[in-house]
């Protein structure tokens, strides 16, 4: 039945093929020039050892990949990335959930709260990174002084775990708004009849949230978890660059930052391309996962 309606919908529009193709063209062109062509070039580059100017090129087969798999720094970078994405994911979701729950409860001035919570999304990642790096700078940062005052030897310049915490905080702060807006929309979509019935039965707001709101939010949460992973894996570059530059001693050298450093600072294009290819494969897997499991479970007719 649903399939028939869908097919009917599709037939109703676009009798002629030319218009939809025309409408798709700009997007396809962008994909071609900014994704497919660079991707294939990266794929090619990954099998060569080359001088950055491209005048001396040796075919080395899978050497670049083999070197990466043997490299301790690459393993460490992978480990750091996993730790970072998991923690960042949990923190972002948890904070966004609390904020969404809280602003769902608020009646007066809800718009203002929403606007304030959404603000960080409008700030450029580099600016966000510099802000956090400065606030927690052990020499001059006001928040670092606060930590020192309560007896914590906070020093992200030297202690890897401190640097990691700082990057996670900055990255989550920047991304909470994204999760928040989805969760808030999800909460608003919870049928009020269910909530009212529960309220009549004597369930408090927290209880209603945990037994009715949260289960209904699960598909959204799963979707957000995947999006957060993608964010943590691929979009974190600017923040790491501004907050720690991957240091100290590689403690925050996440894979995507390593691709940048090896390619654009070290000019080791072969290795950088091989790393991009590995990341690209990973991105494909994430997308597949999302389509196979998440898209099916998300119910749009709430």
């Amino acid at each position: 039945m649903a399939a028939m309606i869908e097919a009917g919908l599709k037939r109703a529009h676009f009798k002629d093929v030319r218009l939809p193709v025309l409408l798709l063209l700009p997007q396809l062109a962008i994909l071609l020039f900014f994704f497919f062509i660079p991707s294939f070039r990266a794929l090619g580059q990954a099998f060569f050892l080359s001088d950055p100017f491209g005048n001396t090129v040796h075919f080395v087969g899978f050497d670049n990949f083999a070197q990466l798999l043997q490299s301790d720094t690459y393993h460490e970078s992978g480990r750091v990335t996993v730790v970072f994405t998991i923690l960042q994911n949990l923190l972002t979701l948890a904070v966004a959930l609390v904020l969404a729950f809280a602003s769902d409860r608020v009646i007066r001035g809800r718009g203002i709260y929403k606007a304030i919570i959404l603000l960080p999304y409008a700030i450029a990642p580099v600016i966000a990174g510099i802000l956090w790096a400065f606030l927690f700078n052990p020499a001059v940062g006001p928040l670092a002084q606060l930590l020192h005052a309560i007896g914590l030897a906070w020093d992200p310049n030297r202690v890897g775990s401190d640097a990691m915490i700082l990057v996670i905080l900055a990255a989550s702060w920047k991304h909470v708004c994204y999760d928040y807006i989805f969760l808030l929309a999800g909460l608003l979509a919870v049928p009020s009849s269910l909530l009212e019935a529960a309220a009549v039965d004597g369930a408090g707001p927290l209880r209603r949230f945990f037994t009715i709101g949260l289960p209904l939010l699960m598909p959204t949460m799963f979707f957000l978890a995947v999006m957060n992973f993608v964010y943590g894996f691929f979009e974190i570059f600017a923040i790491v660059d501004a907050v720690t530059q991957g240091g100290p001693a590689g403690a925050t050298n996440v894979l995507v930052f390593k691709v940048y450093v090896d390619g654009f600072i070290n000019l080791d294009l072969g290795s950088s391309a091989a790393q991009s290819v590995i990341l690209m494969v990973f991105a494909l897997l994430m997308t597949l996962l999302q389509f196979r499991y998440v898209e099916r479970r998300v119910s749009y007719d709430v």
Binding site: D51, N137, N157, V159, L267
Partner: protein, 442 residues
């Protein structure tokens, strides 16, 4: 049919514009060339001024200076442009990129260019450590531009208060002074770690103390060079820095804050950094500062330091007229008067002895004694194989590996010896990769 007519019209329009452009009198249109550089802020303004002065000095050529971001961004932009066959005529590349540029097959030796165009440049007059760094087989490959050397900046008031006239000459004595300053509560930190500490505290440390950094005269004599700094007192130097940091005698500024600010605000008493910091420190500083030579190890006869900064590379694939313009501009830069102006404006060292003489004869260094330290330090004694300079392929990459290992020491994860061993091991692998790529080309 309609389409055809339209394209004919377009052709007509195009050819008439071309014809118009061709018909313009040649003299009225100076030859335009682009120069990509990495000088931001106050230095960027000086570069603009330099270009304006050159363009105003004649009417045949017009150089346009384009700020392309930091050194890494300029070399990346150059590579991308070169691969797209749209490279600018002139690019400013940092000294660490020397081997990358030299063996890239994408550049043209400046000495050849200027000689062929009939400019009489006294190549022997270039300051030795500067020319030595940028030469290959006795020929200057790239025009030295902004050359600097690290010096020791200090807060005069802090030292006087602690009862010292000035910082001591040796590391051992200086260490005692910094600890005394800390113990007397005169300043929160004796020193602040500069962003390019590997250059001042490890590389130049090796040169000044005449220690081998790598085999084959630090890479001057072959691509099969290997790092050996893990076998010298670089290891104890790393241990010393680590101890200072642990004892809170040295601070790391970290991200979000420039180390220079910790010095100029009077928080830290000393700062090991480039002489090029003059323009910044003179403008920002609220303290009574001075500067002196980098310290050396007790009992050693100090050698010359080596340079940092950048040079100007001429890219292949330009038109003859554009090379005329580039040659004229480079000859202008090499003039003692231009050099003197640049030295005064920025704090970089003069590139030629004539320029240095000019600055001295005009009494410039009497008024600004700290400006002379770098050049005196660069020309101190006779350079040895250990102090001539550093020519490593993939130099940035080996340096990043070294930084990484240094951070392991500071974090307490590795001993200085283990970390420097690993840095050398990683660095040598990177050197071998470069050797493999460029076999038989050096």
């Amino acid at each position: 049919m309609k389409i055809q007519r339209r394209s004919t019209l377009a052709m007509l329009a195009l050819s008439s514009t071309l014809w118009l452009a061709g018909a313009m009198p040649a003299a009225a249109q100076p030859v335009q060339v682009q120069w990509w550089h990495a000088m931001g802020g106050a230095l960027g303004e000086r570069v603009e001024e330099l270009v304006k002065n050159f363009n105003g000095s004649q009417n045949k050529y017009a150089v346009t200076a384009v700020y392309k971001g930091n050194y890494d961004e300029v070399i990346n932009g150059t590579i991308a442009a070169y691969r797209a066959k749209r490279a600018p005529a002139l690019v400013q590349i940092y000294e660490r990129g020397f081997m990358t540029m030299l063996l890239s097959d994408a550049t043209m030796p400046v000495q050849d260019l200027l000689d062929q165009r009939g400019y009489k440049i006294d190549w022997a007059d270039f300051v030795k450590p500067v020319a030595g760094f940028y030469s290959y087989k006795g020929k200057l490959m790239t025009m030295p531009f902004n050359s600097s050397s690290p010096i020791l900046w200090y807060n005069k008031a802090h030292f006087e208060k602690a009862g010292f006239a000035k910082p001591a000459e040796t590391w051992q004595e200086l260490e005692k002074q910094l600890y005394a300053i800390k113990q007397k509560g005169i300043s929160a930190c004796g020193s602040v770690l500069a962003g390019d500490y590997h250059w001042s505290l490890l590389e130049n440390y090796s040169a000044i103390n005449d220690l081998p950094y790598a085999t084959k005269a630090n890479g001057y004599q072959g691509l099969d060079t290997e790092f050996v700094y893990n076998k010298t007192s670089v290891v104890s130097q790393v241990a010393r820095i680590k101890k200072w940091i642990d004892d809170d005698v040295m601070q790391i500024a970290g991200q979000g804050l420039s180390p220079e600010q910790l010095f100029t605000s009077g928080k830290c008493s000393t700062y090991f950094a480039s002489t090029a910091a003059h323009s910044g420190i003179e403008r920002e500083s609220k303290i009574d500062w001075s500067a002196t030579y980098l310290p050396w190890e007790e009992g050693k006869q100090p050698k010359n330091s080596t340079i940092g900064g950048a040079s100007l590379w001429v890219m292949k694939g330009q038109k003859p007229a554009e090379y005329e313009a580039v040659a004229a501009f480079l000859a202008y830069i090499a003039k003692p008067e231009t050099q003197f102006w640049w030295v005064k404006a920025t704090g970089y060292v003069p590139l030629t002895n004539k320029a240095y003489e000019l600055a001295r004869s005009q009494g410039y260094y009497k008024e600004h004694p700290t400006r002379e330290i770098a050049i005196l330090q660069l020309t101190r004694g006779t350079p040895t194989a250990n102090s001539t300079g550093f020519h490593f392929g993939n130099f940035t990459q080996t340096m990043m590996a070294q930084r990484d290992e240094f951070q392991n020491v500071v974090a307490g994860k590795k001993t200085p010896q283990a970390a420097m061993d690993d840095a050398v091991k990683r660095g040598n692998e990177i050197l071998r990769q470069y050797e493999k790529l460029n076999k038989g080309r050096y």
